[in-house]
């Protein structure tokens, strides 16, 4: 049976995210407007093993707080539009900083594949990446690719297919925060869980609330009213 999956592409700026997007989707691209925000996101699709994958290229951001419109768009897409899968593209030559975003995405959704891109450049610089260790520590597939040279793409497609078919599953390892923060999260969690919009991961929501992210709550409230009108 052929199925359709929605895939979001997240990553820091200049990690080759758009190159990967182009490699995967070829010429089947267009830009679409997204509800609530007047930001255009690039969309494209491709077929693999009979299934259709619809890709959305999120704005390149360093983090997913509400610092800028770009960050808000990327974050809202992952949290509210609930893609079936999120690909996080990392720059292999600057992994330490790039992981920051990956960890944030993993707090928002479990369905994640990490693409360590620019692996050719990293190897040239003498950076060796053991993806098996990273996979174990993160709890999600980690695939080394070079979008520019189109290497590692088949492994990526295979991982996407197997994840979607349920052949493999993700078990993201959550970040444990300092004691004080964890205690505060524990206070907020029961309240947050009562929210009807429970599709939002409650631990993540509690964290954002601790961060004082009021724009997020407003967004939730807005979307809740919207859904009620629809019901």
């Amino acid at each position: 049976m052929s199925r359709q999956f929605r895939v979001a592409l997240a990553g820091n700026p200049n990690t080759g995210k758009s190159t990967l997007f182009n490699v995967l989707t070829g010429l089947k691209q267009h830009t679409g407007n997204w509800a609530g925000k007047t930001v255009e996101l690039k969309e494209g699709s491709f077929q693999y093993k009979g299934n259709t994958f619809k890709l959305v290229d999120l704005p390149g951001t360093y983090s997913l707080y509400s610092n800028s419109l770009d960050e808000e768009v990327a974050r809202n897409y992952i949290v509210f539009e609930k893609p079936d899968l999120t690909l996080v593209v990392l720059d292999a030559t600057a992994l330490e900083r790039n992981f920051n975003l990956a960890l944030q995405v993993l707090e928002m959704t479990g369905q994640v594949i990490i693409c360590v891109n620019l692996i050719d450049e990293a190897e040239k610089m003498g950076i060796k990446i053991n993806e098996k260790i990273l996979m174990r520590r993160l709890g999600v597939p980690v695939i080394k690719i070079s979008a520019r040279n189109k290497s590692g793409i088949s492994a990526l497609l295979d991982a996407m297919d197997r994840l979607m078919s349920g052949e493999i599953t993700c078990n993201p390892v959550p970040v444990t925060y300092d004691e004080e923060t964890e205690e505060k999260i524990a206070v907020l969690m029961p309240l947050v869980k009562q929210l009807r919009n429970s599709r939002i991961p409650s631990r993540w929501l509690a964290l954002r609330l601790l961060d004082g992210d009021k724009a997020l709550l407003e967004e939730i409230s807005k979307r809740q009213q919207y859904e009620e009108v629809l019901q």
Partner: protein, 466 residues
Amino acid sequence: MESKSLDQNQLLDEILHQAEKLSTSDSRDRIVEKLYQNSSKLVQAGVTYTKNKHSQRTEKLDAIFTSPILGFPIMLVMLGVVFYLTIAGANVPSAMLAEFFGWIEGYLTLFFEMIHAPEWLHGVLVLGFYRGTTWVISVMLPPMAIFFPTFALLENYGYLPRVAFNMDRLFKSVGAHGKQSLTMAMGFGCNAAAMMSTRIIESPRERMLAILTNNFVPCNGRWGTLIVLASLFMASGFTGGMAMVVTTSVIVGIVLFGIIVTFFVSWILSKTMLKGVPTHYTLELPPYRKPKIFDTVIRASLTKSLSVLNRAVKVAAPAAVLTWVFANIDIGGTSILLHIVQFLDPLGQSLGLDGYILMAFLIGLPANEIVLPVLLMGYLSTGELIDVEGIGDLKQIFLDQGWTWLTALNMMLFSLLHYPCGTTLINIYKETKSKKWTFMAFMIPTVIALLVTFVIAQLAKLLGWV
């Protein structure tokens, strides 16, 4: 359904209330810190570096370029070298271009005489439009064609991120962000483009600081003015290479003054209207890369220079015509231009400038590139019409109008500090979506420009220096 939604709203309120109680100013810091720690642990576990020659070289170079002792002197020297190359290299082609355009102008005038064109047509087209725009080209094109590629080479090589690294501590101490130095570097090319580049600063507060102060680095539209005035008036007692050194030092001084003002304004704003703590970030230092010299030089000098020039000419042409028309339409026996100039003159004089200069800056709002040509046209329209050949003859025109070193210095300072050009203001509005901040971006520099030139002019007069 109604009651259910009310419950949800109450719940949201309750959550918000609880969150506000629990959330402290360092919550974000704690969260981010842990994320960074985890990232670093991940890298330690899963990434190994086999040190090769390349990364060793990067480390060695960084030890020099980002050294606490050598970092700043090297930056100053680099800045000086870039300006020196620009000034020294631009003089000859600039004069050649001016001569070339003057030569063509002769034939144009002949042509107009031949077809018995009315005098006003020759005035508008040749003396106004042609002379105005070719002046822009001959004065602006050579420095741009040198400055842009040199800067682009430094950028490609990987030196500019090191500048940001060095500046980070300074910026933090005034409550701003280290990345601001990168947006400033962009501003040296074009303040309007730099507005877009401030997007790299994630915190809205720090981004606003970068937007409001970017104007204090002279864009390429103002380089022409700065370089011409510095070489005409500041190095008059020197010849040859020494004159270049003096000119370069004056320009480095002006640029440094702009940077000091940037820090000062950032500091004031971060203590008042834009209060807050600077966010921390890790600056990724890319490896040094051998720049593709040919590509860079061609791309930077051609595309960048031409696009800026295109803009300058587009704005200069109508301004040239406007200036000529103003100068040639009389109301009550005096030209419109002179009416404006006489109105502005008292203010101009108190700033060490004059009415013509202020008029030129007003007409120059759409693009700073045209301030000098408009000023020149203004002066020439009242005095004798002489054919200007090369930058040298310019000085006589200015001296005839009573210029002193103070006029030149204050015009340079006014050019450095005054309101951003029209395009920049439009971009500020687009980026901030705020009329208030766009207005502030206009007012802060204007007030500073007026204050600084006023104080310098009054001091110089008081001390009898002019």
